[in-house]
Symmetry: C2
Subunit: 315 residues, 2 copies
């Protein structure tokens, strides 16, 4: 297998675009059910019909088969809606309806409306069932050797991890819990995942944009496949002094490699990176002049698709 950079983008940003293929786009959209909340006439996510079906007839939910909309009718405040969602999901977990709920984390993700208001919180493992936008942070840690070469800290995920076990990752990455700011999240994750000191991260991590895409989950993600996972990742760069060595701080990482650009590119081509981490590496390469219009024939398309404008409200 030899993947081009555009292949790497396409395996993560998999949902069709209205701009370039309206027929496929509309065919796909019309397969799914929209998720809405009462009194907000727009989609917060798209759900598989087989998933939406399970919500039929349950208190606090309304199924509209003609327009293919599942509406959360319970609650009129974020707290009330969150409670209604939790009650439903806990019951579904008990009855073993969905494999993704076996990985219940007890961690809440936020779902926002068009005015950037919190509409409700949802258990992290359940968010792909609802197809709502989730938020995370990814940090590129790199160093310059004494002869000026750029080298990139690249961890391999523990082979025992249920999701994307053994695949390559960005130096630090994690989901943003409801109420947490992106920067505080990256500071926390840097300590947990790479044993990087708070002082170093606060002083040197640099906000560098965001990467957004619409992922369709495959078997590597664990649980049901074809669930929708639109995501916004806040990106940070951290140039480390040569003497600072990231070390796994929990059991999520097997080992950190310090790789040249060529070593990273070789592993990318072989499909060894977790799909969304490959996107973040491409964004890093674009911002650092490693990919150029002259050496990458799909330059414009890649840049655009790394920053997809989503159909749903985002923070």
């Amino acid at each position: 297998m030899v993947l081009s950079n555009l292949d790497l983008v396409a395996q993560c940003d998999g949902f069709p675009y209205h701009q370039t293929d309206p027929t496929s786009y509309l065919a796909s959209i019309n397969t799914y059910y929209q998720l809405r909340v009462s009194d907000h006439d727009y989609a917060l996510g798209y759900m598989l019909p087989s998933v939406a079906e399970v919500f039929r007839g349950i208190p606090n939910w309304d199924m509209d088969d003609e327009d293919r909309i599942l509406t959360l009718t319970g609650g009129s405040t974020a707290a009330e809606r969150s409670q209604a969602v939790e009650t439903t999901l806990l019951a579904m977990r008990k009855t073993g309806h969905f494999k993704v709920l076996d990985k219940w984390r007890g961690e809440l993700y936020a779902v926002y409306g068009r005015d950037k208001e919190l509409l409700f919180n949802v258990e992290r493992s359940a968010s792909p069932l609802l197809g709502v936008v989730t938020y995370g942070v990814h940090l590129n840690a790199y160093t310059r050797t004494s002869d000026g070469e750029l080298k990139i800290w690249t961890p391999r995920r523990a082979r025992t991890k249920q999701t994307y076990g053994g695949m390559l990752d960005n130096a630090v990455a994690g989901g943003i819990s409801s109420g947490e700011s992106p920067f505080e999240s990256v500071v926390r994750e840097c300590a947990e995942e790479a044993s990087l000191s708070e002082e170093l991260v606060r002083g040197k991590a640099k906000a560098s944009g965001s990467v957004t895409y619409w992922y369709i989950r495959d078997e590597r993600a664990g649980g049901e496949t074809n669930l929708m996972q639109p995501e916004c990742q806040y990106i940070y760069d951290l140039e480390l002094p040569e003497e600072v060595i990231p070390k796994p701080g929990d059991d999520e990482v097997e080992e950190f490699y310090l790789w040249s650009v060529e070593e990273v590119q070789e592993a990318m081509r072989k499909g060894e990176f977790k799909p969304n981490c490959a996107m973040v590496v491409l964004d890093f390469f674009l911002r650092h002049g490693i990919l150029t219009a002259e050496n990458e024939k799909d330059y414009i398309e890649i840049v655009s698709r790394l920053h997809r404008r989503l159909e749903f409200p985002t923070l």
Copy 2:
């Protein structure tokens, strides 16, 4: 007038999005005529009906009013199509049909198909009549003072310039002629517009991504208004040593200012920047950690809209 960063994006990336406002999008699309070439069943641009009307009945062109498509039927090679386009445009220039043709430059822009093949070349001043994608380079020149402060070289356009006269610009910017590579274009423009040496630019200018948007021309662009101008700008950063001072090399620039981030932001808020140059500054601020998720409420939307995925084939 106080413009937010999202206002600055919206004044340049003005065409509605199907993702977030399908009703406005479809209403807008259905106002215009698609431009196509024979045997290629997709749009290369969108044209005002009043502009498309002028092509009715002219040899080498076919108007389809039912599907609202203007097709270039003349020629089956890039050379033949380019010739057909030039013949038509020269005739229209002679009869004074379009004000934008008064600024005929004798410079050709390339129009590409879905396989990135050259379909035809078109006179630069005529490209907004056809609504086709155009390509350019923008370079951010900046320096770090001895106390570490980032300062940005910001030129003011000559007040005598017919387009956006007196407005603020990026250090170096220009259109890419058919057949020219982005990097060679930026080297040439750096010499012409800022008197920066070829050696310096080749050694230190860093490819930093692209900015894409769908601009709707207003009176500041000169000529007819409401013409469609979808654009791809290849972005470069150039950190200059403190002793290197850009100097206007032609009559397009009145003066270069060396401004702090705050001075640039103040001028942005006042609407003093040429619209697409404000986009490029925002992209620079995002990549350099000046705008963050914590200080910019529209962070995700701004990042996405700076990198719009266009409906048309791009290089």
